[in-house]
Subunit: 756 residues, 2 copies
């Protein structure tokens, strides 16, 4: 801390005495337009922004601290010397890691040169760029062959694009430090061929609507902005001119390369974002795609303000930041919808970019300042300055996450994701479209959280990102054989087949349909959606609610899955809990030897640990995890089975976690209503060794009515208090009036559901 504050002090002193205008800033007003695009920096940092930042330095703690850390980091790198190795490795390997590090270092050194006005940073950037220039012109395709679009510095064009997105910024920062000759050399031998390789030479990567292409577009566009090259800028915005790809080809992940011919940055904004800002691949990839979307948008805003990029598609880029922040749990970790690695959170640097840009270019939401404070760093640019000033001026307010419904699809008509929040309980209900090549086959699935901790988990992806020992850090084959399959999720599986037979081209044609979303009543947060296509001939209508009731310690989850089918089927209905079995009201028998539950569609990865026959109208299962108690109460009949399973079968390289599930299995059934309540209750202290409220509060869960139009569930507590939840299966609009009689009693209400 001492070093840091003295550094800031010296900095301010130095700046106060040595600050002078850059000679490229002309004061001729007649020439102003010309100046804007000629002056540098102009991309992310601007000349005016640099002036403002320098003026405030030493008085804006979060900015000053970020700057001091970056300076320390880059000074150490300069000390260690430049390394630009010949490309050789996959992700996680030495050359991969080094080039990845270099792009970060170059970008930061460039920024330090601008803010600190110290030539050593400019020289460092120049020297490294010259080494890249010398190397790049000698490079063939990267020697590793696994990618559908190989890069030159990296095994995939994607990473080459990452590099250029960052390095464009560095180049912009030292542009005026370089001689024209030096610039020509870099542009001719490095930047232009680099941009061409990831675009013209790699259309299967570049010319599509996909997060990969977004990086490619941004890379080409940003270097185009710096070089003032309109052809590159147009290629970035609209795709490679006059190029049409084979619409039937697929990429490594099984996604179509380019089904409808759309391409370019604008198309990449247009299609994957819904009007609510939901990104079709889910929050993990939204986070990944976010950086090129926003950083290129910031560059466009600065250099091409006439494009009004932040207003494009009714301001969807800024809306998407709000959506993404809402797709995180109480700890800021993103919900692992589709392919998502757990633990990724809004502490990721892409979210620093997102939060700062959203604050500065949006409407200065003071809630964003509280997230920025948690992130404890800001962008070293105009937006970071704005955030730092906001925090300094005490404008920060808590960022409050409430229930939210996010539509999916370009026009918001392809299903969506509903997040139900009630006190510390969060339920994520997915009724979205396929989610591109990173989508999982899990229509109407959900996961449940208590205070940021998983209660009923979504498995996430089967990958150890950047851990080289596990398949080079890339997707593992179990991602396809397990993680994407329906049985890996908390939804209905018919006849041990995945939804859409786990076929991407079929799944991509469909989406679930919102039935209703209701968050007006603070005690009852509810969402309901239909899925008619996952299993042809079978329709699922799932209604989920998180209900706060005075008879319960915490809000509980109510789940009503109504299945209507033309055929007789087996239905599996899993609950992926965590922790240890505490108690059941059914007698299970554990297996002497463990065998896989099935042979395909993910079932080959589940061991069957125990089996039971349901023997009462309600099957109850309590478990214990992280010193908290949970109970599932679910309506069953005597033909139902209950299976205790564990992931891990047919996993020859121990790629899967050994996580448990309870699966409710209904055999030879046509129509079925699955009704379940999950209570989070009580706690245990291993220090005092006392268990509080360790038992379920529910005596009886009953389906008192189930017709085409209505399903009514009664929930009776151990104190014999009964509540009734009636959901409207057909007409569920907010205005709809209902009047029905159940057991001679009349119920009248308007809206989607009744609860009393």
């Amino acid at each position: 801390m001492k070093n840091l504050s003295s550094f800031v002090f010296i900095l301010v002193a130095v700046l106060a005495t040595t600050f002078s205008c850059k000679d490229e800033v002309t004061s001729d007003p007649a020439n102003e337009n010309q100046t804007i695009s000629d002056e540098h920096p102009k991309l992310i940092l601007t000349a005016q922004g640099v002036n403002d930042i320098r003026a405030q330095l030493g008085t804006i703690p979060i900015f000053d601290n970020t700057l001091a850390k970056v300076k320390e980091e880059i000074d150490a790198e300069i000390e260690a010397g430049i390394e630009v190795p010949i490309p050789k490795d996959y992700s996680g390997g030495y050359t991969h890691v080094r080039h990845k590090r270099n792009w970060v270092v170059l970008q930061k050194a460039g920024v330090l040169y601008q803010i600190l006005d110290d030539e050593k940073y400019a020289k460092y950037v120049k020297d490294m760029l010259m080494q890249y220039e010398a190397l790049y012109k000698t490079l063939p395709l990267h020697p590793k062959t696994r990618s559908y679009a190989r890069g030159k510095l990296f095994w995939q064009c994607l990473n080459d694009s990452n590099w250029l997105v960052y390095v464009s910024q560095a180049y912009d920062c030292i542009y005026n430090y370089l001689s024209e000759e030096e610039r020509n050399k870099l542009e001719t031998n490095l930047f232009r061929p680099f941009a061409d390789h990831i675009s013209i030479d790699s259309p299967q990567f570049y010319q599509r609507v996909h997060n990969h292409s977004t990086w490619g577009n941004a890379a080409v566009g940003m270097i185009g902005l710096v070089m003032d090259d309109q052809e590159l800028i147009d290629r970035a915005l609209y795709g490679i001119k006059d190029l049409k790809l084979d619409a039937t080809k697929k990429d490594d992940d099984g996604g179509f390369l380019n089904k409808d011919g759309k391409a370019g940055f604008l198309a990449n904004i247009e299609e994957p974002f819904s009007p609510d800002g939901y990104y079709n691949e889910g929050p993990y990839y939204q986070r990944y795609a976010m950086y090129p979307f926003l950083i290129f948008a910031e560059g466009l805003h600065n250099v091409k303000p006439e494009l009004k990029i932040f207003e494009y598609k009714e301001g969807v880029l800024l809306k998407s930041i709000n959506a993404l922040l809402n797709l995180s749990d109480a700890d800021g970790d993103f919900f692992p919808l589709n392919d998502g690695q757990k633990g990724m959170s809004y502490y990721n640097s892409a979210l620093v970019t997102a939060v700062d840009i959203s604050y500065h270019y949006g409407d200065q939401d003071p809630g964003l300042l509280s997230i920025a404070k948690e992130q404890n760093q800001v962008l070293l640019d105009d937006s970071g300055l704005a955030v730092a000033l906001g925090i300094k001026n005490g404008e920060s307010k808590p960022f409050t996450k409430t229930s939210i419904n996010l539509s999916d699809g370009q026009n918001g008509t392809q299903g969506g994701v509903a997040i139900l929040r009630n006190e510390n309980i969060e339920l994520v209900f997915k009724y979205a479209a396929q989610g591109s090549s990173h989508g999982h086959y899990d229509k109407l699935s959900y996961s449940l959280y208590e205070n940021g901790e998983e209660v009923i988990q979504d498995y996430g992806l089967a990958r150890f990102v950047n851990i080289e020992q596990k398949g080079g850090g890339n997707y593992l084959k179990e991602n396809k054989t397990w993680a994407k399959q329906t049985i890996a999720h908390n939804t209905l599986i018919q006849n041990e087949n995945s939804h859409f037979n786990a076929k991407y081209d079929i799944g991509s044609q469909h989406h679930s349909v919102l039935h209703y979303f209701s968050s007006e009543n603070e005690n009852v947060q509810a969402a309901s959606a239909k899925e008619p296509n996952a299993y042809p001939g079978t329709e699922m209508l799932r209604t989920m609610a998180v209900i706060k009731d005075e008879d319960f310690e915490k809000p509980y989850m109510l789940d009503i899955m109504k299945v209507t089918s033309a055929s007789t089927n087996q239905y599996d209905f899993p609950f992926y809990y965590f922790g240890q079995v505490l108690q059941t009201n059914f007698e299970y028998k554990t297996k002497e030897t463990l065998q896989a539950l099935g042979s395909k569609n993910g079932y080959q990865h589940l061991y069957l640990e125990a089996r039971a026959k349901a023997n009462s109208d309600n099957s109850k299962f309590s478990w214990f995890n992280n010193n908290k108690f949970y109970t599932l109460t679910t309506v069953t009949n005597n033909n139902d089975e209950l299976l205790f399973t564990r992931i891990g079968a047919n996993d020859p390289e121990f790629n899967l976690r050994r996580d448990p599930a309870l699966i409710l299995r209904a055999k030879t059934t046509k129509n079925r209503i699955f009704v379940s309540v999950i209570e989070a209750h009580g706690s245990y202290s291993p220090v005092t060794e006392s268990a509080k409220n360790s038992n379920s509060n529910i005596k009886k869960l009953d389906v008192v009515l189930d017709t085409e139009d209505y399903t009514a569930i009664s929930i009776t507590t151990i104190n014999d208090n009964t509540k009734l939840f009636i959901t409207s299966n057909t007409n569920a609009s907010k205005e709809a009036k209902h009047n029905i009689t159940i057991n001679d009693k009349n119920y009248e209400w308007s809206g989607s559901y009744y609860f009393k």
Copy 2:
């Protein structure tokens, strides 16, 4: 906070104006001795102590806050009303929990009466005691029959004794508030019969050396001190007069009831504590036994100072507190040696008692103040006042835990426990005696921690203490069939049999023997011990070290297990790691179906997940847990097998955790040297998705010499730096001089080992 500080303010104001001497404090100096034993309170609180406390109130934050919290807690109880239900349940059940709660409430209400001088607390205590008096005289034995010594309020005399230890204090606090008639009523119908039931009526519980008896002794003694009943006090100190029990009988846990006829509080101090203060059952039960030891000792100190109880056996009671604090990891959690539930820590209230008493009656170690600060509460008595004043006066210093060797056995000659600490790495090496009925069969076993997190775990007990759903909260049968067995521990298992055939009477006759302990060199913390009896005809000598070497990121563990046998055997050598398999240098084949590894001695609880043949001189296994990397390098030969196992087979009620292990198996072997290094290295961030230092730093681990007298191990890093560790297998005294030649090179040193 507002309420709390205003409460303290009012309190001080009230006390300043209303304080008056109790009328039982006589001012006649001639009568002083008489007064001391006649006045009340005298047991834990003393009249003088109460005066001192009242004088300081409002100026001693940690004491004031504790008091405010206790007041809030007890006021709520008084508000809720008294409940004294007819006994009915096992641990965790309603009547059990209520009576347990009542003893806490009574003790606290008594203290509040003394400190706050508010009659409402005295009346509350009196009213509840009268209800107990009315109930107790009607009570038969508790209806639950599982205990070897049934109580009346509780299912076991142990809990009845807990009750009396606390309630004696409450009675002392309101003694003078009661009329003589009331006191007679309580003493005649409640306290004396209560004391008799847990002692004279339950000699199998009372008349032994065991933590149960310690509670019994303290209960009888404390009520004896309050009632000034010398017969009860003697019965407490020396056991039931003239009673000898059958020396061959056993208790519920398989322990002998009374093998050598010793009994009473002094015998219970004498025998289980070693001179270093190690308690033979291990830290979990020491924590449990600690409260009655210390609280009765405090009472004896106050009422019978002539006994000099804190100097008894060279001050072993206070030494034992230091030993116990050292038997905790970086988070303060006790190492789960023998039967120990994980998560029990020095935040337990018994440790508040221990820390405060140790500070006050010991030598005011300022390190204890820092633990008291973490505990954030103090005893509401003289010792708590002393701690509060120490903290207030800024005397607190960090409690530093370094490597420590704790001898076991009454005279410190029955093996022990060595804890090796080096930066954030802690290794617990157990070479102790059996540990009474709670002992496990794990001679020369170890567990390894990094910064308070388990790297190589000890399973602990198989019990969910006070969680009624799991076997009434009592020991589960898997505690015997799994947790106590040798294969559940990180040590050598010969021919799939447990040490001493898991027979308590054999195990109790033996202990391991310290070979050496060396902590002088801060880079090399080492301990070595022999076990000649666990398997007759086989001798194990295990030498363990935690070594800080500049070539490594963190200190690593070196383990040398030298096995010498007269017969040919199969040896299993397990490593109970946590997390996911990352990489091996051997090819394993996973099983299609999982079967138990064996049929008995704990092996019936292990599933075999995968099997491999060792195929090089070093077998390497890397794993990944909680975003950190670990690597085992172990010396193997081509006949060795490596087994991946998981706990959970033959577990019909899901009582066991599904934890993994790697087992090194040597078949048809006589003598064998197992040499292993475990490195903790690197880290992974799921936010930046970067893996640091994820690979082992060891290229080669070699046994370069192994004779009767010496074993020499060379450790070569990937940078080809080689270090040599030579351990002296015979003469290992600090003074011994050694001179040997290995591969033509001469090594000369003095002391237990050589490392360079």
